[in-house]
Amino acid sequence: MENDLFKALADPTRRAIFDKLAAGAMNASALRDGMKISQPAMSQHLAVLRNARLVREERQGRFVNYEVDPQGLAIMARWLAKYRAFWPARVDALKALLKDMDQ
């Protein structure tokens, strides 16, 4: 499931959709505003995002609103936290290596 999340976000259109929803919940047609994307394509992207638990839907009567799923966000946040600590340590090792290389 967590790998689905990464695959889902690897697509630029889905990243754009996710970005839009990060600003607030909206329905599929509001999501399509300003995007060159057909309705079936939008539905497909939303299905991928939903399966990856990045987005969830909320039914309000006849309408469906989409919003960011906190579960997916939490996984993303863990990944970011891990590598935010990882890279400074790796770069320190790189700096040490550069000092050691053919003086």
């Binding site: 990464f6 697509d11 996710f18 990944w79 770069v91 550069l98």
Partner: protein, 119 residues
């Protein structure tokens, strides 16, 4: 040293570091497997071979978490000379599409030296 960081929640990490070593040396450290291994060990990579390589500019590797669920990602290292005779290293680390194909480097020379580039 003036290391800066910026990131967007869902776009992965973008980190910049100023290194006080010339670009050619930094390039060798990030593109030569034996040197790369000393600071970025094979165990964090999904593939020891880069996905793509633009000599003295940019090299990309596929990474895989060393623990379950072994999330895959792509790291891009970009190097540019800075004003102090050193090198600015930019690290862009993003979620990967595992369907990404590896594009083998065009040059037959696997040393990827940048000494040949016009000054």
């Amino acid at each position: 040293m003036n290391d800066t960081e910026s990131d967007a929640q869902n776009k992965g990490l973008v980190l910049e570091y100023e290194l006080d070593a010339p670009l050619e040396k930094v390039w060798r450290a990030i593109s030569t497997a034996a040197f790369r291994e000393k600071w970025l060990p094979r165990v964090v990579l999904a593939d020891a071979e880069p996905i793509s390589c633009e000599p003295c500019e940019e090299i990309r590797y596929r990474m895989r978490d060393d623990e379950p669920p072994f999330l895959e990602s792509v790291v891009t290292f970009q190097v540019v000379p800075n004003a102090d005779g050193g090198t600015r290293l930019r690290i862009i680390h993003q979620p990967a599409d595992t369907r990404l194909e590896r594009h083998p480097p065009k040059a037959a020379n696997n040393n990827w030296s940048c000494l040949m580039r016009a000054a």
